[in-house]
């Protein structure tokens, strides 16, 4: 089943949704948002794409296997925690860069951890979506 309306809409909606998801991820520390919501938004974007163009096309667009994205997310979260352990403190203690980056704000291991959450959520949701959608 091909829906031209959906395909056309996806072309505009997807970039917006993905941008919004990154925006949500980055602002999460101070305003409503965060890795979990951002990840769900991105997953929704990919779900749109999969509905419009089929799971195979989405897999090509993603470039990476969703399982690799999950692994990368878990690794990012582990690394974020490991920084503190390497510095001699308790696992997962936050460490911050001394200066704030323009447009992003304070950068530190919690942000990396949130990126990990984001990737795990995106990876898991797209993995389930694409596996279910395959025929």
């Amino acid at each position: 089943m091909t829906s031209f309306i959906l395909r056309a809409a996806t072309g505009y909606l997807m970039p917006l949704l993905l941008l919004l998801s990154v925006f949500m991820l980055l602002r999460g520390h101070n305003e409503p948002g965060g890795g979990f919501i951002g990840g769900l938004l991105a997953a929704a974007a990919f779900a749109f794409h999969a509905l419009a163009w089929g799971p195979q096309a989405t897999l090509q667009l993603l470039r990476a296997d969703p399982r690799t994205i999950i692994a990368a997310g878990l690794a990012a979260a582990l690394v974020a925690g490991g920084v503190a352990a390497a510095a001699g403190g308790p696992f997962l203690t936050a460490h911050w860069l001394p200066v704030a980056l323009p447009g992003i704000g304070k950068v530190g291991t919690p942000l990396l951890f949130d990126v990990g959450v984001y990737l795990v959520v995106v990876g898991t949701t797209t993995l389930i979506l694409l596996t279910l959608g395959e025929d």
Partner: protein, 796 residues
């Protein structure tokens, strides 16, 4: 014993040397595959420099007498007494020298043995990791350190035994070894914890109670838990050191590549149990329980191993069973525990490590040069493999206990130590002579039978091994000869230091090839001669009557513990299957009903006990739009139940979800609201996709069933609502949320408290949650992709 726990204190540079060396081996293990790709054949000798350096460090810091040369303590979980504590006393020094020295030679050997195979880098990595674990184990001075490294050796040996993982036989042997040693390790952990608690009971502070060397200050044998503690620890030692009836995993482990067997199953890992007995004998030994249990396990193992060795055709299996026999002898000697017995255990342990590693490498060379390890197919190889034959003869002479080898000194001492005992002595001497006769015959089968006598037809002409593969066996064989000729290299240095560490007091040691003409010395000499003569006779007899011997042993092994183990292993999945059929109903709806009903049956009575909650105050101020939202949510739920079409039901459920999201937004929880909306949207898409896989129209349940479901669901809703009401009125301490609100920005640089809690304050929880999310995703993927009727991916 005069141990100095901070022996390295005067030399600060040496204080962290031991842990640095172990860490170096771990790093080398990680880098080994890379090094192998870059350096090829030379990777192994280069990597071998690291354990060789370890051995050199031990040699330069040899402990004198019962003292400690190097010690190191790093705090870990101080409140529980867990620390990384290493100490280099006589026992640790000898074991570390054997492990690191033989390990270095075997690395060199393994590099050449695996030449041209793509798995060489992996083998070198595992071997180095094993050396790190084993050295950590022998140097450990804390119960927790000891256990961690003990388990590490089990895990790495699992990888090594199952190295050829495409072969079912290797996988089965690896699992068997892991299960047996792992179960023993758990028992040992329980025993060690009992010992640590007992040491605390007897007055040691928590910083000392878990340190093995500190146990010298108390007498654990006085503690009421002494016997269970001893039994549990012995279980660990017996499984690791392949004592009867746990001996069967060791011959199975011969599925490993030969360099692995040479390292793990001769010199190092199987000695870990004996090492544990030696390490703990000053604190737990000397009682009649210790004497009986340890000695009898040792004697039985010694005899079983020696007799089983004679029925084997595979070179490596012969060696494996003789190893079982020697491990039994060592255990027996530690069980006897007199000064002479301990000294003879020390000599035998070192002599055995040298000759057995050499013989395994010889077996590897024979296998490599001819393509078979079956002794009935081998003969007359001496001409083709002259250097391998030389090494074989040197090692086999030591194994047979012939003068002037180190093994001869060991056996003389063994007999002397038995004659030293009163009533028991004679029986033990007879047992030891019998076992040693079998060992002599086995030495002949390994080192004489394949090399001399008539040449057999082989599929291709045999060839001598490369120099890298001759270095190890020749050096090890020569070492046995050298120490036998110049015993002062051992009995002035390592020997007494190790014996002192085991006995817990200073001792002198004097090893001789010739003991003079006293009655005792002559008796021992006669016994030695009888042993060698009997062994040679048995070997000549066996060479003709191999088949008969094998048939007899096959009959005997039908009732052995291997069968019990295999039967148990086969029964386990069957029992698990039955159990899951019993408790797991193959219908999601019914399973859910059981779970909900069980929850209700616990929750409802407690609600009644607590007293029914009253309605919250301020109900009158409910706004109209709030009532509207509640109606929306309820209407969605009712429609979801009533609608006959699946898609319509899902959309109705989405209505409920959206209502809840709006409620979150109204009560200032924007994060929750956004998440709820996203989850609702994605759920609709997921369910819509799922419907493609389901039959077109759902089967309706009967009216009675639907009534039951309605009652259950209604009950769950009512109880849940009452619970929420019961916990609502200010039962949370305000301090928690106040703390988060106050600390969020100053301590965590974030104004969104929800997110700060997720990624900073309670990040460990989140880490656990995302792991669960990831596993759930993988689980869905596996269930959908790897169905038996699905040929799209994975195995059938």
């Amino acid at each position: 014993m005069n141990r100095v726990p901070d022996g390295g204190a005067g030399r600060p540079g040496k204080r962290s040397m031991l842990s640095a060396m172990i860490a170096g081996l771990v790093v080398a293990a990680v880098l080994a595959p890379l090094a192998e790709r870059r350096l090829g054949l030379w990777a192994a000798p280069v990597l071998a420099a690291i354990p060789a350096a370890f051995a050199a460090v031990v040699l330069m810091n040899l402990p004198r007498g019962g003292g400690v040369a190097l010690a190191e303590v790093r705090p870990w979980v101080s409140e529980l007494g867990a620390e990384l504590a290493f100490s280099l006393d006589g026992l640790a020094a000898v074991m570390a020298l054997l492990v690191a020295g033989i390990g270095a030679l075997i690395l060199v050997y393994a590099g050449a043995y695996m030449a041209g195979k793509p798995t060489r880098g992996r083998l070198l990595a595992y071997l180095l990791a094993f050396l790190a674990a084993m050295l950590g184990l022998v140097l450990a001075d804390n119960v927790v350190t000891l256990f961690v490294f003990w388990e590490a050796t089990s895990v790495v040996s699992f990888l090594l035994i199952g190295f050829d993982h495409h072969k079912g036989e290797s996988r089965a042997a690896a699992v068997q070894a892991l299960l047996v040693t792992g179960a023993g390790g758990l028992a040992m952990l329980a025993g060690l914890i009992l010992a640590g608690l007992a040491a605390g009971d007897l007055g040691l502070p928590v910083t000392q109670a878990w340190r093995i060397s500190a146990w010298a200050a108390v007498d654990l044998r006085q503690h009421p838990h002494y016997f269970p503690m001893l039994l549990l620890i012995l279980a660990g030692a017996a499984t690791k050191s392949a004592q009867w009836p746990f001996h069967f995993w060791l011959p199975g482990a011969m599925a490993a590549p030969t360099p692995v067997s040479a390292l793990l199953h001769s010199a190092t890992m199987v000695k870990a149990g004996v090492f544990l007995l030696a390490r703990l004998s000053p604190h737990l030994g000397g009682t009649s329980e210790w004497g009986w249990l340890v000695t009898s396990a040792g004697v039985v193992t010694m005899l079983v191993g020696a007799s089983m060795a004679l029925g084997q055709r595979d070179l490596k299996r012969i060696l494996a069973y003789t190893t079982v026999s020697v491990l039994g002898t060592l255990t027996m000697l530690l069980g006897v525990g007199t000064e002479l017995a301990v000294k003879s255990a020390v000599v035998l342990l070192v002599a055995h490590a040298l000759y057995k590693a050499a013989l395994f490498l010889v077996a590897g060379n024979v296998d490599h040069g001819t393509g078979t390890r079956d002794i009935t197919a081998l003969g007359g190889l001496a001409r083709h493999l002259p250097w391998t034959f030389t090494a074989a003869v040197l090692a086999a002479l030591s194994m047979a206990g012939a003068p002037p080898m180190f093994g001869f000194v060991g056996k003389e001492l063994l007999y002397t130590s038995k004659l030293d005992l009163e009533a028991l002595g004679a029986k033990l001497v007879v047992a030891a002579v019998l076992a040693n006769v079998a060992l002599v015959a086995a030495a002949g089968m390994v080192a004489v039978k394949p090399f001399l006598f008539r040449r057999r037809e082989l599929s291709h002409p045999p060839h001598e091994a490369s120099p890298f593969m001759l270095l190890g066996p020749l050096l090890l064989g020569l070492a046995g000869l050298f120490v036998g000729l110049v015993p002062a290299t051992f009995d002035r240095t390592l020997g007494p230091a190790m014996a002192a560490a085991i006995l817990g007091r200073e001792v002198e040691m004097k090893l001789k090839l010739w003991h003079g003409l006293s009655v005792e010395a002559l008796t021992v000499l006669v016994l030695s001669t009888v042993t060698v003569g009997g062994g040679v006779g048995l070997f000549l007899l066996l060479r003709r009557r191999m088949a008969t011997a094998r048939r007899l042993l096959e009959l005997a092994s039908r009732v052995g513990p291997t069968r019990a183990f295999n039967a148990g292993l086969a029964a386990l999945p069957t029992a698990a299957d039955r159990l899951s059929r019993l408790v797991q109903i193959p219908s999601l709806g019914r399973s859910l009903s059981v779970i909900i009903a069980a929850t209700l049956s616990v929750a409802a009575p407690s609600l009644i006990l607590l007293g029914l909650p009253s309605l919250p105050a301020g109900l009158a101020q409910v706004q109209l739009h709030e009532v509207a939202l509640a109606v929306l949510i309820l209407a969605g739920a009712v429609m979801a139940v009533v609608f006959p079409k699946r898609l319509a039901a899902v959309v109705a459920l989405g209505l409920s979800g959206l209502g809840i999201a709006l409620l979150f937004a109204l009560f200032s929880a924007p994060d929750l609201a956004m998440t709820q909306i996203m989850v609702e949207s994605l759920t609709v898409i997921l369910l819509a996709l799922l419907f493609a896989h389901l039959p077109p129209s759902p089967e309706r349940s009967s009216h009675a069933e639907r009534l039951g479901h309605a009652l259950l669901a209604g009950g769950a809703g009512v109880v849940m609502a009452l619970f929420v009401l019961a916990v609502m009125p200010g039962s949370f301490p305000p301090s928690t949320s106040e703390y988060y609100l106050a600390e969020s920005f100053p301590a965590a640089h974030g104004r969104n408290v929800v997110n700060v809690i997720l990624v900073d304050f309670r990040a460990l929880d989140t880490l656990g949650e995302i792991t669960v999310v990831a596993l759930a995703g993988l689980g869905v993927w596996a269930l959908l992709r790897l169905r038996p009727d699905n040929d799209r991916g994975g195995e059938p």
